[in-house]
């Protein structure tokens, strides 16, 4: 079948162009961020967190501060401390501070050859699984790299709770939305430290800006050995553990 109207659009072509144009303008209309250009993301802070596990004394002051600052409901944790105890036969025992006071008791384990505390919290992943699975866009990463939950938008389906490889999320028992560590977003956006960092008596928890090469966090990461939790999950966590032992997962 020949075509003698060279240079003119066929109906198919016109529909294709119309659809492409409409989709494009609809996308830009929906997400103005796609059209934003010229802004250098390095001008903004990129908040991250480090945990110096060699200094932690397991006093759980961070947990108490977090609860008081953020009204964390009983039985739920935005941050917690795990105690690792390795026995002579290689057996690894892990427990958390039990009871209402969140205090570690002595509870000796025979033949312990190595023991240490590991504070845990949301890793504020660069490629956060939780925000990828959220069906309504309620979990998101702020321009400063903090992973937050939009409490008005969350429908409490719990996909993110299941998806998080670090177990840092929970469904709020009375308000029924997904809740988690916010890195005390209300505090850090005013230049204050997160409550857990402030309350830690031993300087275990280090909060800072990765884009600022002079920040204590950046210096620490240059000078110290560190690793992240579960790197094989591909989540690129921004919570760095200094001198962490391999037993910790």
């Amino acid at each position: 079948m020949g075509c003698d109207c060279a240079g003119m659009m066929t109906r198919r072509e016109m529909i294709q162009r119309l659809v492409t144009g409409a989709t494009g303008s609809l996308l830009v209309w929906t997400f103005p961020a796609l059209a934003a250009e010229g802004e250098d993301p390095r001008d903004r802070p990129l908040y991250a967190y480090a945990v110096d596990t060699t200094r932690c004394i397991g006093c759980c002051a961070c947990m108490r501060a977090c609860r008081a600052e953020n009204d964390v409901p009983d039985g739920c944790f935005r941050t917690w401390i795990e105690r690792y105890r390795v026995r002579a036969n290689g057996e690894v025992l892990v427990d958390v501070a039990a009871g209402d006071d969140h205090v570690f008791e002595e509870d000796p384990v025979p033949d312990t050859v190595k023991a240490f505390f590991v504070p845990k919290l949301c890793n504020h992943c660069e490629k956060s699984v939780c925000s990828q699975v959220c069906p309504v866009g309620a979990t998101y990463e702020t321009p400063e790299g903090v992973v937050l939950v939009d409490q008005k938008r969350c429908i409490g389906c719990g996909y993110c709770v299941q998806a998080c490889p670090y177990g840092t999320r929970f469904i709020h028992p009375t308000k029924h939305y997904a809740d988690k560590c916010t890195l005390c977003y209300h505090r850090i956006s005013r230049g204050e430290l997160p409550a857990c960092v402030l309350a830690c008596p031993k300087g275990v928890r280090i909060f800072g800006d990765l884009h600022d090469p002079e920040s204590r966090l950046s210096t620490m990461l240059k000078q110290r050995r560190y690793r992240v939790l579960k790197p094989e999950m591909g989540t690129h966590p921004k919570c760095y553990y200094l001198d962490l032992d391999f037993e910790v997962v």
Binding site: C3, E69, L148, R153, A195, K202, D243
Partner: protein, 311 residues
């Protein structure tokens, strides 16, 4: 229907009226779609990414409850100054006392946490997972040593929470001892994390290694049962840490020898400091005197020789 490739025929203009309903339906669907979208997609959604932009500001508006030590020092500058100099200087006020905002709203609302043993033991109970350099006690063992009979005695009866070491000097200048105290000082680059000294390891951390004369005299003196580190606290802060109590406040001795209603008479001999000063002084009691001015022989000979660092 004609194919567009067919040449146009002459005759009346083509009649598209049959297509109007299609356009109407399509237009109607578009309006419905836009209306549904406007209803479903919240305002500011997509401003910064696939989320509601306004949520960022909503997350920022909350007030802080932990205010930091500067806020506490605005009213309690005297306590803050004492606290900053002592061993708890790195500990924020609110770590023990609870959030400052609660105290600002209601002055009575402050945790007197140190009144309870538990609140000191939260950090200082001996736990195998705590770093060995951090000061820790077994409460029962500690009470037995200092002769405390009532197991419920609060730590603050002897130790001030703000000045736990009763140190008058600046912490950095008071720590002058050049001893080696951490594995990492010899085993360079290794963290001091081992719980127990490995079997067969030479006993390099004995005080008598360098201070043979002192420890020999201490073995004969009345305090012979007490470990050197009971008085000479070696809190690892750096390679040159260690605290010598000789020139410090006489209250240090009163930690064990001060009269108190919770103490039995079977423990160490008990005195009250002003009473004791009045008893022994013929003239006006001088409160700046140190216990060791008179009682050195009950402790050990003074260390005078050059240390031989033969490690």
């Amino acid at each position: 229907m004609r194919s567009p490739s067919e040449p146009p025929e002459s005759g009346p203009p083509p009649d598209y009226r049959h297509a109007y309903p299609v356009f109407l339906i399509m237009g109607g669907l578009l309006v419905v779609a836009l209306a549904v979208r406007a209803w479903l997609v919240p305002e500011t959604f997509g401003e910064f990414g696939y989320y509601r932009g306004a949520a960022l500001d909503e997350a920022k508006v909350r007030t802080s409850r932990y205010l930091g030590r500067q806020a506490c020092a605005e009213c309690h500058d005297d306590v803050a100054a004492l606290h900053a100099k002592d061993a708890h200087g790195s500990v924020e006020c609110e770590t023990c006392h609870g959030p400052g905002s609660a105290h600002v709203e209601d002055a009575e609302n402050v945790l007197p946490r140190a009144d309870r043993q538990q609140d000191c033991l939260v950090c200082h109970r001996r736990l195998d997972a705590r770093p060995g350099s951090f000061p820790q006690i077994d409460r029962d063992e500690h009470f037995r040593l200092v002769g405390v009979t009532n197991a419920a005695t609060a730590c603050v009866r002897c130790h001030s929470g703000h000045e736990p070491l009763f140190m008058n000097k600046d912490l950095r200048t008071a720590r002058l001892h050049p001893l080696i105290h951490a594995c990492g000082d010899c085993h360079l680059g290794r963290q001091d994390q081992t719980l127990k000294q490995p079997a067969g390891h030479p006993q390099i951390f004995q005080c008598s290694y360098c201070h043979a004369d002192v420890s020999a005299s201490a073995a004969k003196a009345e305090h012979h049962a007490i470990a050197c580190t009971t008085c000479h606290l070696f809190i690892k802060e750096n390679a040159f840490s260690g605290r010598i109590v000789r020139d410090t406040d006489p209250r240090f001795c009163l930690l064990c020898h001060g009269q108190a209603d919770f103490r039995s008479q079977d423990g160490p001999p008990l005195i009250t400091w002003p009473g004791h000063l009045a008893d022994v002084s013929e003239e006006t009691p001088d409160p700046t005197r140190a216990c060791v001015d008179c009682h050195q022989d009950q402790i050990h000979d003074l260390f005078e020789k050059e240390v031989s660092h033969g490690l």
